[in-house]
Amino acid sequence: MTTAPTQPGQPALVLRDVVARDAAGAKATARGMLYGVSLDLGATDVAVVGAIEDGTLALAEVLVGRFRPDRGTVRVQGKDPFNAVELRCRIASIGIDPALPLAASVLASVDLATSAWPSPVAAADVLARFGLGALGPRAVASLTASEVRAVEIALALAIPDPALVVALEPFADLSMVPRARLEEALAERARVCPVVAITSSPADAKRFGRSVVLHRGAFARSTEGAHAGLAPALDASLTVWVSSGARELVAALSRDPAASSIAFDATTNDADAHATSGILRVSGKDADALALAIADATRASGAAVTAVAEGAPGLAEVRAATEHELRSRQLASQQMRALEMQAQAQMMAMQRAQMPGPYGMPAPGAQPYGYGGAPQQGVPAPPAFSPQARGKEEPVVSPSPGTGDKEPPR
C-alpha cells in the first residue's frame, strides 16, 4: 500500500474552518462543538487543552476520521481521514473510551486490528513492546479499562509510518504502561508526524512543546513550552507528600521567607505530632528558593518526605485566564474601533469644512466663517469663488461678513 507523501512545504495536518460536534451528550446529542477551527501542523507535538464541552472530543473524532465535520475540511497528508481507508490505518489514536475489535482473545484482536496495516506487524510483538505479552491469551471482555487502554496505546504506537497521532488524555489511567515510556514514544513520533495530545490537564500539556487552548469551540490562544503561559503568572507551587512529621515540617517551613503560603491537608492526625502524615501545598515567588526551603525544613524537622511534585494550574484557572484574555482582546478591539470611528468622523468633518456648501455657505459643522463668523486667527479666509473647485458652474459669491440680513445674489 503506497502512501502519498506530503507536498514539500505543505503541513501534514490541515484543518480549515471546521465545524463539528461530538455525540457524547445524553441521547447522542452534542456535548462539545467546534466552531470554525483552523489549524496547520507539521511534524511536531502540540497539546490541545480544554474540556469536552470546549470541543476536545469533537476535535479528536474528526481528526481520526470517526465523524465527518459538519462544515470545513480536515486533511491529513492531503487526504480526508473519514474517507481514506489507507490513511486511517496510519492514524494512531488513543481514545478516551478505549475500544478494541472484539475477538476470541487479545492476541486475535490485535491481529485483527493490524490486518489492514501496510506492513504486517506480529500481534505478539505489538504487545511485547510494552510488556503486555501476558494479556495476549486473555479474552478481550475480561480486560479492565486500564488494560484495554494499555493494549490500545501499544497498538497506536506500533503503527508503521504513522501519518498522525491523536491521543485523548494520553497520560490518564496509565497503570500498565510506564508514563516515561509513553512520553518518549510520543516524542519520537513527533519527529516524523504531527502528534496532537488532547487533554484537560494543563500539567499533562506541559510535556509537549506547544499548547493550544481550545475554549468554547475555538482555538483561543497558544503558548510555547511550560504551562506558565496557560494561566496567569502565579507563584511557584510545590506539592509535598509527607509520611511522618508533617506538622513539624509545616512549622519549619513557616519560618522560611521563601514560602509565602502553606496549605496542609493531614491524612492521619495522630496524637503524636511527629507521626502526622499529609500533603502540603507550598507556594512562593521562586520555585528554586521554595525547593531549597523545603529541603532545609525537611532536614531541620526530621520529617519523612515521600515525594515532591511541581504544582500546575488547573483547567479552571486556564479557562479563567483564557476568558480574561478574550475579554481584554474584545475590549482592545472595541477601543480600537471607537478610535477609528472618531478619526473617521474628524476626517469627514475636515473634508466637509473644505467643501463649500450651497450658495457658497459653509457646510454644517464647518469652520465658522461667512455669516457673522470671523476668520480665525492665522487661518486664511477661503476665496469666495474657486473656478478650480467649481468647474464650469456659475460663479457664486459668498456673502461678506456683516451682511447677514441680505439675500445672496442669484
Binding site: 455525540a23 481507508v85 489507507e86 490513511l87 475489535p101 489492514a116
Partner: protein, 234 residues
C-alpha cells in the same frame, strides 16, 4: 484485498460476539419452540400438520430468531458505531458491516433451518399423511433451502435497519413493518415475509410466481446489504 480483509475482520468480530450465552439461549429457543408448535399442530390434526407448523415457524420463529442473532453481533448500537473499533485501524467500514451482516445471516440461517426441519420432522414422523401432503423428504428438502434464504433476507433488512437511529433502532421498525404489512402488496414483495409465504405455499403477494419469489428474496438481500454497506461508509 482490503475488502476481503475488512469483511473477514467484521465476520470475526461478529463471531466473537455470538460466542456467548445469549446465542446458546437463542439456539435453544430455535429447537424447543418448533417442537412445541409441531406437537400442538399434530394434536390438532395430523393431516397438514407440517404445513401449519411450518407456517407458524416462518410467521414468528424465523423473523424473531434472525432478529436476535443479527442483533447480537451489533449489540445495542447503530451498525456504524459497531464497526468503528475495526474501522479505526484502517479497515473498510462498509465491508466490516457486511461481515457483521453475513455472520448474523448465517447464524439466523442455521437457526431457522434447524427450527423448520425440526418442525417438519416432529409434525410428520410416524403420523399418517393427508391426501394433499407432500412427502416428508420433499418437505425437508424444500425447507433446507427456503429457511436459509429467508433468514439471509431478514438479516440484510435488519442490518440496513441497524444503520438508522442512534442505537440502531431502525431494525425494530423493520421487524414491526414485516409483522404488520410484510405479506401485503408491494411490501410483501420487498419484505421477506411475503416471499417466505409464497415459497412455503401460502399467499403470493402481487401474484408473484413461486419460482420468482426466491429470485426476489436474493435480490432484496443483495440490495439491502449493499445499501447497508454504503450507509456505513458515509
Amino acid at each position: 484485498m482490503s475488502a476481503v480483509v475488512s469483511a473477514r475482520a467484521g465476520a470475526r468480530m461478529a463471531i466473537a460476539r455470538l460466542q456467548g450465552r445469549a446465542a446458546i439461549a437463542v439456539a435453544f429457543v430455535a429447537l424447543v419452540v418448533p417442537i412445541i408448535v409441531a406437537l400442538v399442530e399434530r394434536r390438532e390434526a395430523t393431516a397438514g400438520a407440517s404445513d401449519r407448523a411450518l407456517s407458524t415457524v416462518f410467521r414468528f420463529v424465523v423473523p424473531l430468531l434472525t432478529f436476535s442473532l443479527s442483533q447480537l453481533p451489533i449489540g445495542g448500537k447503530n451498525l456504524r458505531d459497531a464497526v468503528w473499533p475495526a474501522a479505526r485501524f484502517g479497515l473498510h467500514r462498509g465491508f466490516v458491516a457486511l461481515g457483521h451482516v453475513a455472520v448474523g445471516g448465517a447464524a439466523g440461517a442455521i437457526a431457522s433451518l434447524l427450527a423448520a426441519v425440526v418442525a417438519v420432522l416432529v409434525a410428520r414422523l410416524g403420523a399418517p399423511s393427508g391426501p394433499s401432503d407432500m412427502t416428508l423428504a420433499s418437505d425437508v428438502v424444500a425447507t433446507i433451502w427456503i429457511a436459509p434464504l429467508v433468514a439471509f433476507a431478514y438479516a440484510a433488512w435488519f442490518g440496513l435497519g441497524a444503520t438508522f437511529g442512534r442505537s440502531g433502532g431502525g431494525r425494530g421498525y423493520v421487524l414491526l413493518a414485516d409483522f404488520l404489512v410484510g405479506s401485503l402488496g408491494v411490501f410483501g414483495v420487498l419484505l421477506p415475509r411475503g416471499s417466505a409465504y409464497n415459497l412455503i405455499g401460502l399467499s403470493a403477494p402481487l401474484d408473484v410466481p413461486q419460482r420468482a419469489a426466491s429470485g426476489v428474496l436474493v435480490a432484496v438481500t443483495i440490495v439491502c446489504a449493499a445499501v447497508c454497506a454504503l450507509r456505513c461508509k458515509r
